[in-house]
């Protein structure tokens, strides 16, 4: 009986059941960001694994097939990016400028804050890609020497925070332009921010999807080159 929990079947079943429960609840609460499936689904998994004596490392091995699909999911981001190219033709210049500055800001602020508060190199490196979509972030974090699980968790929390405060920030700053709301949410809060942007309008959603793709691309292309320059400067010796 006890050996039944030590198979991929168990890990996958637990994950899918928790996730399905979480998406059902998310629909019930009308996509309230605090009830994001990621947060809700983690509760049964965190409770059950220690109860049945399965370690986190073993659980991660059991569910490897899901993590493997992050690769194809990254390649798949080319599709929405391609579909949305036409929506930005008239504003491509401010969009590109914002992508470069915004991607640098999002990564730079988290790197600086974590470093300033005394986090070691591997932790700072895990936070650098926190504003980009998860499948790209878990690839990029390998080049910054961070922890995959910390990066993935930070990405999820970043998305949830962005979606939670987005409405308030836009109201305080007097922003009514859906292009701005969408692009800002997609840039800072990736897929979770994009889902939030679609609640403003389809146009906001399209701009968010574009921001998600561009920011992920720019960060993934730049960070592996820049990190070896930043890291020795922040962490000499």
């Amino acid at each position: 009986m006890a050996d039944l929990v030590h198979s991929p079947l168990f890990g996958l079943l637990l994950t899918l059941a928790s996730y399905r429960l979480a998406t059902w609840l998310y629909g019930k609460v009308h996509s309230l960001p605090l009830f994001h499936p990621f947060i809700v689904a983690s509760i049964p998994v965190i409770v059950v694994l220690p109860l049945v004596g399965v370690s986190y490392t073993e659980y991660r091995d059991q569910t490897q097939v899901l993590s493997f699909l992050l690769g194809p999911a990254t390649v798949a981001l080319a599709w929405p990016l391609y579909r949305q190219l036409h929506t930005v033709r008239s504003v491509w210049r401010p969009i590109l400028i914002t992508t470069f500055i915004g991607a640098a800001l999002a990564a730079g602020i988290s790197i600086y804050l974590a470093w300033w508060l005394g986090a070691p190199e591997a932790v700072v490196g895990s936070l650098a890609p926190k504003s980009i979509t998860t499948p790209i972030a878990v690839e990029v974090v390998k080049s910054t020497g961070g922890y995959v699980s910390l990066a993935a968790g930070a990405v999820a929390i970043t998305g949830i925070v962005g979606a939670l405060v987005g409405g308030l920030v836009f109201r305080l700053l007097g922003v009514k332009d859906d292009r701005i709301r969408g692009f800002a949410l997609g840039l800072v809060a990736h897929a979770i921010g994009t889902a939030r942007a679609f609640e403003f309008s389809e146009k906001a959603g399209a701009f968010a999807g574009l921001a998600l793709g561009l920011t992920g691309l720019v960060t993934a292309l730049a960070l592996p080159w820049l990190w070896p320059l930043i890291s020795p400067w922040l962490f000499p010796g």
Partner: protein, 124 residues
Amino acid sequence: MIDGLLILLLFQFLGELVIHFTGLPLPAPVVGMVLLLLALMFSVPYSDRVADASGALIRHISLLIFPLGVGIVLQWERYSDYALALTVAVIFGTILALVLVTLLLKLLLRDRVKAGERGGRADG
């Protein structure tokens, strides 16, 4: 669906090949994404068949990332020493970045409200 998966895996593999032969310090799936984007832009035959598989994978990114992300809690003893740095960087850092990016967009798009009105059609 099979066509789409085949295309995605093929482009990921092409990404691996590029990395293997050039030694670029980039994630192979990202290179694959750029190659697929180029293929789509140049209307390479059949490349638009990625639509279904792409949509399905992207919709469930939360599920794919879940086993890795939940490690932030299950391996918390590894990170708990840096709880303050993590909380401030992730929560305050995200809010600050969102404010700054919004202000930047306001500044850059201010004079373009009319010029940019066209073409806001979105796909779910």
